[in-house]
Symmetry: C2
Subunit: 350 residues, 2 copies
């Protein structure tokens, strides 16, 4: 059995959850479910049955280093990217560092800010993905769709792989569809949601990247070669700004799928990317909320009484410096509010 | 010319403006227009062209004495009722005290929490009402309706009085009508809104009350007889709880109208009782409000950014301990929210 390393890229402001999420307090640092564990803490918890703590690697920006260290006291591998360059450089750098220590290691990347209420079934899916990855595949874990969502990309699954319980070849990745297309995907039974979970041998991931983005792979391996030496910071700061800004989906998953080298493990565990207030709504409201001929979701500070009268399907969000009220059906537009704050001289609220 | 005394009953929680208004911070103490003057301060300002400061009498509860004294530093006549017994005992006690000093004095009562943007036209109407009152009438100032409102009582005007510019006899007072009836009133041109403004000689007011509510008039005159003596507080505390709780409309205005002794001065100055958030809406929002495909009214603390997305005709009200969001068309129902607070163990928010 190969050693498994978990990579957790912790980035993204989550502007559609403003004013809960801020630049300095991104979504992964929030306890949106009121369980006492933030999203990155829950992500950490999900990894422990699969990887030992010293094999969990968080990649984030320097601005969040303090908060991440405080929330994850057992974390030893915190890699700080000098600037955000999308998911491929972040995941690839961690994978390149792991590759140098153990080329046969299997790495898996999982977002820091998704919700997965059933960690046991998640672990089962990851274990199958690891076994498939040991055969040389790049593996993704796709979520069996429960509705014709237009908010997610889809993965078209092909033939089942021999010797595995549920893994299938990947035919192709498709972007967020329109609703009619999404209905067709759902009806076919051959499409799953792309939840951004990728599992592969570290060497397979980097070698694949080297075929499609050779400069990026070379840059990441050059930085990784300096890891642990006094030259590391200089090498990182010199090379990182030259790396292509690109998502792992485009850099590796799609071209590898076109070659026939991608597999997918379809998974039925509950999953949500908590991308907007509509997706928060099912998690419930703060305790101090009174609805009179009204419904939706309301989140406020302890002790602040929120009352809603005569409005359906609304979100009310109160923080110490802002109040947002919206029609939940228009949740995706919260970023328009955030975009206007600088013009109002309220950069302090970003 | 008689001496004119202004009586300002300052009571009423204004629960339909919660969470702006509270038991300890009733509507009359609020600066709802953002002018820097609260409603009771503006009421005071409107009286000064008509009555000297020592002839302005505020009647309120002990709980508000400190705030009123702080807001009206020139006020000398602050009468504290031991408990709220509606408007007749409050106005009648002030009138009885004035009557003892000057039976020919004309008194006028005006709510502490109404909005009248044109104080000059208001003063003109009061001056005509004073002149009519000197003839022995009980006079009300009625507001020419601008819409078929169902939120106000109406006054049916009769024949014009000789020798006066606009005063007319009162035929009758009618309660808040349904909308169809209100349309008829508006079309007839003979109906004005009852704004609770009453002007009469002190002796006429008390003598009228003595005919219809003899015990109440006797009780008020007994308390007034002790005014200024060491026995006053004991007399007030003994007699006040025995007084009938009743509005001046029912105790005097309606029965006097039935006798033909009421007159009305129809007035065209702007007037609003600011009774709910729908009536606050035209006054505008706080500065820090962002509307995106949304409109209505929003009030918040300085520095708190309020944002509303995709909702029409809503009110958003933020204070340090509560947030209320409502459909403005249901403004009258805010009292239902307030009624539920004790059951939520939030008496602190009343």
């Amino acid at each position: 059995m190969s050693t498994f390393h978990a990579i957790i890229p912790a980035g993204g402001a989550g502007t559609r959850l403003w004013p809960l999420s801020r630049k300095a307090r991104p979504k992964f640092l929030l306890d949106l479910e009121g369980t006492g564990r933030t999203l990155i803490q829950q992500t950490w918890d999900r990894m422990l049955p699969l990887a030992s703590p010293e094999h969990v690697h968080v990649v984030s920006g320097a601005a969040h280093a303090g908060a991440i260290a405080a929330q994850l006291p057992e974390l030893v591998n915190l890699l700080l990217e000098p600037s955000p360059r999308d998911s491929m450089p972040a995941i690839g750098l961690a994978a390149a560092i792991i590759e140098r220590a153990d080329p046969d290691a299997v790495v898996g990347s999982f977002a820091a800010d998704h919700r997965i209420p059933d960690p046991d079934r998640f672990a089962d899916a990851v274990r199958e993905a690891i076994a498939v990855a040991e055969q040389g595949y790049v593996v993704t874990i796709g979520i069996e769709p429960t509705e014709p969502s237009t908010a997610f990309g889809y993965i078209a699954a092909g033939e089942p792989l021999e010797d595995f319980a549920s893994a299938r070849a990947v035919r192709t990745f498709v972007e967020k569809p329109d609703e009619e297309t999404a209905r067709g995907y759902l009806a076919s039974g051959d499409f799953v949601w792309n939840a951004g979970m990728f599992v592969a041998r570290a060497s397979v991931l980097l070698d694949s990247l080297a075929r499609f983005q050779p400069d990026l792979a070379a840059g990441l391996r050059a930085i990784a070669a300096a890891w642990g030496s006094p030259a590391f910071v200089a090498e990182l700061e010199r090379t990182w700004p030259t790396l292509t800004t690109i998502a792992i989906d485009h850099a590796v998953a799609e071209p590898v799928a076109a070659e026939g080298g991608m597999a997918v493990v379809p998974a039925t565990f509950g999953w949500d990317d908590l991308g907007d207030f509509a997706s928060i709504a099912p998690l419930g409201s703060s305790p101090d909320v009174l609805w009179v001929d009204a419904d939706g979701v309301a989140r406020g500070q302890d002790g602040v009484q929120i009352a809603v009268l005569g409005l359906r399907n609304v979100a009310v969000v109160q923080t110490d410096d802002a109040v947002l009220v919206l029609d939940l059906a228009q949740s995706q537009r919260v970023k328009e509010i955030v975009a206007q704050l600088p013009g109002l001289d309220r950069d302090d609220l970003l």
